[in-house]
């Protein structure tokens, strides 16, 4: 963000420095500042400054009240490097991100393909699929807690019908992550579906007709027409869903509080735990900087490598 802003600024000022000795604001530059200024101001106050401050905090030990923040060098990072819980948290974050992003994208595409067919009740189905993404994550999590209850939840009842016993979704470490993933995918599915649908409808029909004439079957048409034409959508959804998932907090806070025994403790939740339950501002900052670097790295990778494969038709 900051890089591109600086770049634009340079472009805008260059003609000025050539014609006039002394810099004076041209109308264009003022307009530029007018547009960028408010945004930049809020970014600086609410994003850049906190990042810098938490980077600084990560070299200290502080309980968030004491007047003195004790400098500890790289101790907090060293702790994270050797801490079993933090390793587990990283692994959980990977599982959660891959599961939620993969699940949302694949299911979203399948549902979009289905809803793109001329079926009866299609519009109603679209609304139903989209609705969860408008709801508050905390509220739906409360409802899902009841649905997951292994004794009187509706899921247990349904499993009972097919003579299966319900797992202890939220209290069994093996099932807690799947439970959280189900809710997360269910919530984000609608958004992905709608975007995919828009993408599908933008694909010119003649491409399919041409493919048909060339003798391509359904699967072949999907591979050679639909997927390449959808690639900008997949890219867009990939980036946004990954970033969202990395920062997803509400569902975990309400449903599992990171438990049982850290089974659903992800990076963002760990940051919260260390910061606001253990009041360990330094360690929390070190973890949040790790999260920041990870997200930055993934985004760069995506822009670098994934975007090359995107076909802007």
């Amino acid at each position: 963000m900051a890089i591109s802003v600086a770049h634009h600024a340079q472009v805008a000022y260059k003609p000025q420095t050539r014609t006039a000795r002394r810099w004076r604001p041209s109308g264009e530059a003022l307009l530029f500042l007018l547009f960028v200024g408010p945004n930049l101001f809020f970014f600086a106050v609410f994003s850049f400054w906190p990042i810098i401050y938490s980077a600084w905090l990560s070299f200290h030990r502080w309980d968030m009240i004491a007047p003195i923040k004790q400098y500890v060098g790289l101790d907090q990072y060293r702790y994270l490097l050797h801490d079993d819980v933090f390793h587990k948290v990283l692994a959980n974050t990977a599982v959660y991100t891959v599961g939620a992003v993969g699940g949302t994208l694949i299911l979203g595409l399948l549902v979009a393909l289905l809803l793109n067919q001329p079926l009866r009740g299609r519009d109603g189905a679209r609304a139903v699929i989209f609705a969860p993404s408008l709801l508050s994550g905390a509220a739906i999590s409360v409802v899902w807690i009841y649905m997951f209850d292994p004794r009187f939840g509706i899921i247990a009842r349904l499993l009972d019908l097919v003579h299966l016993s319900s797992p202890s979704w939220l209290t069994d470490p093996a099932w807690a992550m799947p439970a959280v993933l189900i809710v997360s995918i269910w919530k984000d599915l609608g958004f992905a579906t709608v975007i995919f649908l828009a993408g599908l409808q933008a694909i010119p029909r003649d491409l399919y007709e041409a493919a048909k004439v060339d003798g391509a079957g359904v699967l072949w048409r999907f591979r050679s027409v639909t997927l390449p034409m959808l690639s900008p959508i997949v890219f867009f959804l990939g980036v946004t869903t990954i970033l969202n998932t990395f920062q997803s907090f509400d569902i975990i806070q309400v449903m599992t509080k990171g438990g049982p025994v850290d089974a659903t403790n992800t990076l963002i939740y760990y940051v919260y735990q260390q910061g606001f339950i253990a009041f360990n501002a330094g360690r929390s900052s070190a973890a949040s900087l790790t999260l920041f670097v990870l997200m930055l790295g993934i985004t760069l990778l995506q822009v670098r490598y994934a975007e090359r494969r995107v076909h802007y038709g």
Partner: protein, 445 residues
């Protein structure tokens, strides 16, 4: 038609109005004078952690205080759980927007004491001529550091053993639970109810880490002869007797008669009153809600013994913030004195299940009559003289409660060997204790 409004007439009108306002000192400008005239009332902000039945009782206490006198007006603000209250207080301190008096739980007040943001209360106690000898000694003394009072007992509780009398009767336990945990383990399978091979009722339900299992296990650990730590932060939880207590917990689940609560939010309390377990341990503060919701005959009992008896105190007290101006501190203390007065502690106790914090309240005819009618309320008070202050590892090490709780979850949920689990807990506790030990040294105890 009437006068047509255009821009000129509008502006004229506005200017005229402004002139009038400026010259005649309209009521808007005079407003501060009104506020000053009621300036003799000190308004204070009070942060509490009680919702539902407990919240109603708490609001009634505040209402009675406000109606009882004219000098102080308390504004009660609910802040969420004990943890959330502590979080918000921390943020409030950073923002310099603190309340004047706050409820702080057993594990939180010490953190604020260490940072010296709690007001010493001795002068107020002396000025108010508060009869400190009437407070239950063990509860009163927990809030003292170096002879100075920082935390006054208010919503104090102990764990209780709650049991479903109907279920126990069916299992042939007319007299309630046996004396020791080992004996209970022998009869517990009788209390388990099954439909086919599906367990519909366990004999006992454990809390989760978030549900303060480390508080409930404290008494069990003591009963087995163990301890979390000594007062000087020497960690003892991985010593053999504590490990034996942990092994008892592990086996309770593995043998199939106990489980860990399926309701991470409301803990074993709701499992119990919904009839999903025949017994559990829970706070006395849960008594009102449990009695109101249970559709069976509820029994309360002392915690079970093993080598010896063990039970700790818990709950919350009230502290005054050092950041408040003197007159607000005085006012805040007046509220604390009122809220813990014999009359109010009686009301509070009867409506919540928390223990009366005043000896005279416990001995009063009103309370004794109440106990006679509601024997379940009496169990906690009878148990009180046998209780002890919790080990430093849980209450004074930052996050100690959750660190121990997670170790217990490893044992209960993951079937981890207790020695391994507690070795890990001990290592973490020892590390986390260091800053506290240093801070204590810095402020001289």
């Amino acid at each position: 038609m009437g006068m047509q409004t255009n821009r000129r007439t509008l502006l004229k009108g506005a200017a005229a109005a402004a002139t009038v306002a400026l010259t005649k000192r309209s009521p808007v400008f005079a407003a501060p004078a009104v506020v000053q005239s009621t300036g003799s009332t000190v308004e204070i902000t009070y942060w509490g952690s009680w919702a539902g039945d407990l919240g109603k009782a708490e609001q009634e206490v505040v209402k009675r205080f406000n109606e009882s006198q004219q000098d102080v007006k308390v504004d009660y603000q609910y802040q969420g759980s004990y943890e959330e209250t502590a979080q918000k207080l921390t943020a409030a301190l950073a923002a310099r927007q603190t309340p004047d008096v706050s409820a702080l739980s057993d594990v939180w007040w010490f953190k604020f004491y260490l940072n010296q943001v709690l007001a010493p209360l001795n002068d107020f106690i002396a000025a108010d001529k508060l009869d400190t000898s009437d407070y239950v000694d063990s509860l009163w003394n927990e809030g003292v550091r170096k002879d100075v009072q920082y935390w006054i007992p208010f919503a104090r509780s102990t764990p209780l053993f709650y049991y479903n009398k109907d279920a126990f009767r069916e299992a042939g336990l007319e007299e309630g639970p046996p004396k020791t945990w080992s004996e209970f383990a022998k009869v517990a399978p009788e209390l388990v109810k099954k439909e086919g091979d599906k367990v519909t009722r366990t004999a006992f339900t454990h809390a989760t880490g978030a549900g303060y299992v480390a508080w409930l296990f404290q008494g069990v650990d003591w009963a087995f002869g163990g301890a979390y730590s000594d007062p000087d932060f020497k960690i003892l939880i991985n010593e053999p007797k504590s490990v034996a207590a942990g092994e008892f917990y592990r086996k309770s689940v593995q043998d199939g008669w106990a489980n860990i609560t399926q309701d991470p939010d409301n803990g074993p309390d709701s499992d119990f009153f919904n009839g999903l377990t025949a017994s559990t341990m829970a706070s006395t503060g849960g008594l009102v809600t449990i009695l109101a919701n249970a559709k069976f005959d509820v029994g309360t009992h002392f915690l079970l013994e093993e080598e010896t008896f063990g039970c700790c105190t818990g709950g919350a007290g009230l502290s005054v913030l050092a950041t408040s101006p003197k007159e607000k501190q005085e006012a805040a203390f007046k509220y604390i004195a009122f809220a813990t007065s014999p009359e109010i502690t009686t009301f509070w106790s009867q409506n919540t299940g928390y223990m009366p914090v005043r000896k005279s309240a416990i001995d009063s005819k009103e309370m004794q009559d109440f106990f006679a009618k509601n024997p379940n309320y009496k169990t906690a008070v009878d148990q009180l003289p046998k209780t002890r202050q919790q080990d430093s590892a849980r209450v004074w090490i930052p996050n100690g409660d959750q660190i121990i709780g997670k170790g217990l979850e490893q044992i209960l949920v993951n079937n981890q060997d207790p020695q391994t689990a507690f070795d890990n807990v001990a290592r973490t506790l020892t590390e986390e204790a260091q800053p506290v030990i240093e801070a204590l040294k810095a402020i001289g105890g």
